[in-house]
């Protein structure tokens, strides 16, 4: 395990600096990605909450709308559904997609555009009547609106069937129902934006988190381990150096001691020779106690050696 988390580097001061630089880079990247992830997550959470709210709201709106439809059926009768289904020709309400940027992720924003489709060359011209989207739509659709005005009188028959729907009976109910469904549809379109954003953000967060996690759990520990490894290797080298120095020092000391001892012995021997030649007994009585109490230098070195080399 620990072996794998170490980069295959030559432990040296040079690589240490390099790895340290990489670690710093990774840390900064991690912090940035973390921030991005947090930003996305914050947005994500907001979206989640909004989805829950919107879904409930849409459900309520839809409930209201379907109830209004019951009212329509009460007044107009069941054949309305056939009429409505048969009068479907070209979608007058459509979706337009715009993009929001959140921390580098582009999120789609659906917008409901509706209006009669003119038969002129501008085949896709639409007038946005959706109140929610009006602010954006007005600026963009001014040109279209003029087109529409021009095309207005031409549109007869087919296009404006919806307008006269339920003329003889239940027109007001139909209008109210249509309004209710429009509202529900707008809520659902908002929901669609949120939902798609949710899915995209979910993906983005997953990717970011994977990166963060990769940095946090793999790269950064590995770099840290590498640094630790390099450091420990360097320490080891230092200790070895120290030991080697010590050993050399010891050897030198021993050498010194030996030469000193030899000198001493030689001096003693010389002194003894001189004494023998002189008066031996008188000197022996004077020197004996000192020689017995004082340990020899050799003994001292041996003791220190035992401490130094516990092997």
């Amino acid at each position: 395990m620990s072996q794998r988390q170490v980069l295959p580097v030559v432990p040296s001061r040079m690589t240490l600096t390099q790895v340290k630089a990489r670690l710093q880079g990774a840390r900064r990247g991690h912090a940035l990605l973390k921030k991005k992830s947090d930003a996305l997550t914050a947005r994500f959470r907001a979206i989640l909450r909004e989805i829950v709210d919107k879904k409930q709201r849409a459900a309520e709106l839809l409930r209201d709308a379907s109830f209004r439809f019951v009212a329509v059926k009460y007044v107009v009768g069941d054949e309305l559904k056939h009429i409505v289904q048969e009068s479907v020709e070209r979608a007058e309400t459509r979706l337009r997609v715009r993009f929001d940027n959140v921390a580098g992720v582009s999120l789609p924003c659906y917008r409901c555009v509706s209006g009669s489709v003119s038969t002129g060359p501008v085949a896709t011209s639409t007038i946005a009547t959706a109140a929610a989207a009006a602010a954006v739509a007005v600026a963009r659709n001014d040109g279209y609106a003029e087109d529409m005005r021009a095309a207005g009188p031409v549109q007869t028959g087919v296009a404006s069937v919806a307008q006269y729907r339920g003329l003889g009976r239940g027109g007001q109910q139909i209008a109210a129902c249509r309004e209710a469904y429009n509202e529900a549809l707008l809520a659902l379109v908002e929901l669609a934006s949120l939902q798609t954003s949710y899915l995209i953000l979910d993906e983005a967060i997953k990717v970011t988190n994977r990166r963060v996690n990769a940095l946090e759990n793999v790269l950064i520990p590995r770099l840290e381990n590498t640094i630790a490894y390099i450091l420990s290797e360097l320490d080891e080298q230092e200790r070895e150096e120290f030991f080697r120095l010590k050993l050399v020092q010891n050897r030198k000391k021993r050498e010194l001691a030996r030469t000193q001892a030899q000198e001493l012995r030689a001096r003693e021997r010389r002194a003894a020779q001189a004494l023998r030649a002189f008066d031996m007994n008188s000197f022996e009585q004077a020197l004996e106690p000192d020689a017995a109490n004082t340990p020899s230098i050799l003994e001292q070195i041996a003791g220190a050696d035992a401490d130094l080399l516990p092997i």
Partner: protein, 128 residues
Amino acid sequence: MTDAGDLASVKDADRLIAIIGDEDTVTGFLLTGIGDRTRPTDPTYLVVRRDTSDATIAEAFEHFTRQRKDVGMVLITQNIANRIRSNIEGYTGRVPAVIEIPSKDQVYDPRQDTLMQRVQRLLGIRDR
């Protein structure tokens, strides 16, 4: 991201809203003008009647979500979604967005909604 590229191409043309649901819900939404029958045999809505088989629904769902490139959003009522749950869970695309809407005769139950299940798990909300 590949999705962004996919989405960017949508900008040119406005997309359609498809709907799969019971007669009344579909009719109600058609009142808002979302239906499209410019291709006569290929409307953007499917009315599920009593005798409509699951296979037909699944086919329509797959058609709207995968084959038709001009659909931006698929509305599907919950009780019908439950019948083709595996298809819905199997659909992972972004566009069209698949939205489950409550069916008219049932109170909306978030626990049956694939999306809401995930959302609530993420939010840690249980038993609402």
